[in-house]
Symmetry: D2
Subunit: 411 residues, 4 copies
């Protein structure tokens, strides 16, 4: 039997099992304290990929897990840089790990799209920053360095870039994690290989050792496959779209004086009018998670409003509308016809609410915004797409666009 | 652009991505129809391993996915047997795949423990059978063969055994899947190897080719590691226990005339009194899922009853009580002291509600109930533990017991 | 103890462990007999990737293993096609599996380049065919169908294409296997996913279901990464080149009357003069493997001829020459200077033997020779690069060329 | 084009691809120099698992690769210990990595058994030590610390234990590597998990954190499965046995004045008589590798001596003798009968040379010699088998013995 004094330690998770990266160690006390905070624990109830599990049933992983994974990759990246002779203070290490751990702390339920719905023009980055500042007060300023890095203002640029750039650890984790949980092997990347090629150039910027060129190109193609096979898959795109439609419709109905059942906190946001964020808004928001939205959708299946009940049934019973895709915008006459059929079929006159064109565009490699640099053996950095060894990067600078038209089945 | 006629097919999932087994094909129309049914879609919202994700954050996978995985393993097992010369009719194949697909269809939210709470002595197997029979009516008797197999009554025993025995595909899937999603690699089994060693002996029973002896022993040790590292991990055991306590307490409070907020369907079961299952019970039950229980716990954090609010806060904020373990029962004096401390700490007199001894016992290999047989080269079958080649099976026939004592932190 | 009668079966391998594909089953007796034949057993002593293990130490896998793996993928591909309704007779299945099993049976020691060295203009495909015909005599014509398929003459084209085309199982196996053993994860392909997307169109040609477009594009990029990171890696290219130089030099020296130690069979080929292949040639050839060449190189390290001893020491002690690469041909003046330095350094006048420009070119996707077709939902086939969904195929139709210059270190 | 000055660095491998552990970094110059030394390069031509590839065709990996892998695990283990607060000087790190890198440097061709054959009572550990001392002279004493550790004489015991004990990195690497290349998944261990549980107790001994108990038990069972499925598999045992028989027979024939073709160096050892090792012995030995033995066996297939040619043909054409196994010694009458049949069949009178009983015994966990210790939370160490949490360790302290009888087919 353990003695009592041992017991006090026993629930402190020092090591977390992660099927993606193996053991995740938590090397600093403050990281552990943030993880235990209710703000962070809430992320357990927010899925990483929204309704994607309607298409890929394995994709039930959470933002909580992603944040831990990204923190682990940050640790690995910093270890690698240290071994290459980059000096990194314990304070900086702690800061970088905290920043990435908290980067999604302001995420609302489901998709990014939804958060604007609830809080108007509030981006989750803004909310993350707001919540980080509150935590910083609570932890007596221990998070200041992390917040500076999160805002991209730290004087050593590579820290900011590890947190947010085309090769940041956020992206490395979510691509690998989403590929892992969806089972879409085309999107699998080897984070160990990519990180082991990271370096810092004289100007203090994050670069990639020249010999890692194909690991990076592999990352870019994998990312592209994930976008088209998973994130922009027409049914995924549709599911995300429906969520927005549901909340939009619910807010509209409420504004018309119609009462809709919902948990207290969700209800609060349905009724909330445009204004600056208050303390009460924040308190409510940090109680909100995917469950509130799912519960609401479950009961709204029985709503009197046909549009709302239609969309909610689509999601809960996975009885999704039709979708057709094209690389060109759809013909407006064709759309009009679909709307007419919808009106006839449902006996409504707002069938245009159920017929929509969704657009998705992707630029696999953005050379303008934070280009990727290779560090040559001679110590000079060059842009990835200018390397003599590059094979695909130069080709991946063009946008691809897809149009998706959705309308009810059987019309 | 796709033509309209293509569209009608496009949402029919014929292939599902599974990170555990790769692509899962759905070879028969009826399987697809069952998967689309709301009874089955509900399983998307029921976690495979309850609150285990509080300890293993990757374990967010669902019964929906597990059922598909088990169906896939059944397909693989039948293909293997056919290649070894066992004759299997298309009807039998369909039946076996349907039976395993639906084996968990009666599962309630969270743990097995909870289902008895809601529906008294209703086991999920009974509910599964009840729902299968309803579906059978709906599908004009097409499920009769499946139901016979599910009940273990089919005349060719190996079908029944593939559905339920010490080596059934249910177990093969959940062990592999739970090991995969928790990241506990010690519990990983190689289902392909085990299935490729399956055979049918003259008497029509499921057996394992003699050369597969170590694959089976590896399966038994992996299973044992999963039990002690995952399912019976003291914090996992605790989490499951707390859920039962919460529902128990909620039912008690309701019986005392106290009103508790909850979704309609969960409320129905909180107020329901012991009686035979009615149609309304079934209708309500098939609307219930993990979300109802989580939403309730979220609001019950603020309940006036200190016991209920204590347990709910434990779960939602992952602020779990202490646990200590032992291979012997705990001293009653020691327990009494903990109860007294609890009463003092909370200023209550029912502190015994928060101090409990939980017991877990495991028999790694049960030679009584459905022993595992090896098929020798001479065509005779012998029990696994009697094989000259066995190394561990003979040692794994003894029970291990662990006692876990839980009580509030800081007392 | 096993009885004697069991014993007669026990060494018959029915299942072979393969770390790449898992268990490989040998479903037909004749396959087993071919595997046991000394012609095929010789492939155990012929590496799949020549001297690549000088750069990637894991790449010690053999042609023997590759042939088994390709046979396994053929089996899987045929099973998939059958499940999609393509009728395939047992005779055809056996033929296709035999053809791919034996496709490399005429492979000489080390690289393709070397085989022409030993046997003038003999390609290994020719030798494979010659040996297949001999085996066919031995097995009373049982291999006729296989030989027809191997020659691309079978009337159902998809069989020929599974054996040799841009998506044949030979390629699928070697890419996955070479990626696996080298550890170059960028080259990893998911053969299961690709094969599950195979189909046969009305004209009897091998096609890919339209939804598999990204699996194919992933295959094309993986293949490209393997070429530039592995097969055409400058040191790999160099190693292959050195082997040719060694044999060339040895033949030259022998022709000048200089005696070189070597095993009987290798010696035979060093002395053999250009002529049509005789029975004795074939007898000798089927005794030859990598060991003969390695043993020779080991002793030729001490040869009097400086060129020969230089190259052999390079390989045996892995003391490789320098290489520099460029996307343009090297300047002839620069090369001349290197030759001069070499002459000075070694005190020889044939330094040009040690300075060479090696050229490698790659066309990732050849749309002329056996284009890849997608089968659309409407039953029509289109070229991969013409698909609306394709992202990279259209970009991969251009050749890339690299020039590698090699010369001794320290000059 | 790279400039000339870059070129001088470009062949220096700083990172090696390993399919088992991922990238292997070479953090110290001296490690790189040892790897480049001909003594170490010779290990490229010595298989890790002898003739095991006759049974598991993937098992073609080399001692070269294993040594690199073990060096990598040493690096990882030391990093882990440092993160737990164990102080390790750069000198100690270098020493430990060198020691494990060179631990097999004295390995002769093929099995351990063979080395005694060639050099009488010379164990490869002795030869490794001898060669290390030579290298130490060459490198001006830089290897002294490594040699001390290799001999188990270093004053901080955990270094010695990481190099040689029941949980040393040698074992961790070869188990994982052999499981990986054979494809026997039952033997797979998770080295990352085991190493992350390593610690050093107050007395300076290597211990395992208590919570790692199941990772260790999993390691012990995996090891046991590897022994019985792979190393002691009856055909593996046979193959190793045949090699000894071949060398024994060759030495005997040579001692009888019969000339046998062989490479110079192998011949030297066939003729060598028992005596202390000379400089010439060492010079010759360091030229010897698997190729010499394979080449000899290839030509000895045609030897006049029937015993020698029989055994050699068995190996080269994989036409292996029969084997039967038992847990009891074989009946001597039964063996006599087999000898008689052999004599009759081959028309010889020394048939007893072809009929043998081979014995293999295994103790899965040796509690006497270097027991495994767990470090409890209270800082005290206990033996693994005494832990309250252990499940299997206590059961794995018993020996298992298998007897294998081999004799020619068809007698």
């Amino acid at each position: 039997m353990f003695t009592n004094s041992d017991v006090s330690m026993q629930n402190k998770l020092k090591i977390i099992n992660d099927p993606v990266h193996g053991f995740i160690r938590i090397p600093h006390e403050i990281l552990f304290d943030i993880i235990e905070h209710p703000y962070f624990q809430r992320l357990r109830r927010i899925g990483q990929t929204g309704l994607l599990n309607l298409i890929f049933p394995g994709a039930t992983h959470t933002r909580f897990h992603h944040a831990l994974g990204a923190m682990h990759l940050m640790f690995t990246a910093l270890e690698t840089l240290k071994q290459k002779g980059v000096s990194i203070s314990p304070e900086e290490e702690k800061g970088a790990m905290l920043a990435i751990l908290m980067h999604d702390i302001g995420h609302g339920p489901f998709s990014h799209a939804l958060e604007c719905m609830l809080m108007d023009d509030w981006h989750h980055e803004n909310l993350s920053l707001l919540l980080m500042n509150r935590l910083n007060d609570e932890f007596n300023g221990e998070l200041s360095c992390a917040i500076e890095m999160f805002q991209g203002k730290y004087h050593r640029k590579f820290f900011n870039q590890l947190i947010s750039s085309q090769l940041d650890v956020d992206r490395l984790d979510y691509l690998k994690r989403d590929s892992f949980f969806t089972g879409v092997s085309e999107g699998s990347i080897n984070t160990q290989r990519i990180i082991s090629m990271m370096n810092v150039c004289d100007e203090g910027e994050l670069v990639i050792d020249a010999k890692g060129v194909y690991s990076i190109e592999n990352f870019l193609t994998a990312r592209m496959f994930m976008y088209w096979q998973v994130y922009y898959h027409k049914t995924s795109a549709l599911a995300e779209f429906i969520l927005v439609k549901i909340l939009e419709r619910a807010k509209y109905l409420v504004s018309q004086g119609i009462d809709l059942p919902a948990g207290d906190n969700l209800k609060y946001f349905l009724y909330r009018e445009k204004s600056a964020a208050t303390d009460e808004d924040v308190r409510r928001f940090t109680q909100l998670d995917d469950n509130d939205v799912i519960q609401a959708m479950k009961s709204w299946q029985n709503a009197e409003d046909k549009i709302l009940s239609y969309w909610c049934t689509c999601v809960i019973q996975r009885n999704l509308p039709k979708t057709i895709i094209s690389s060109h915008p759809f013909d407006t006459e064709f759309i009009k016809e679909k709307v007419k059929n919808t009106n006839d079929f449902f006996g409504i006159d707002n069938g245009d609410e159920l017929v929509h064109e969704i657009k998705r565009k992707l630029l696999p490699y953005n050379t303008q915004k934070q280009p990727i640099y290779l560090l040559q053996k001679n110590g000079r950095k060059i842009r990835l797409e200018e390397s003599e060894d590059q094979l695909l990067s130069g080709l991946m600078v063009n946008k691809t666009i897809r149009y998706i038209l959705t309308f009810p089945r059987d019309i």
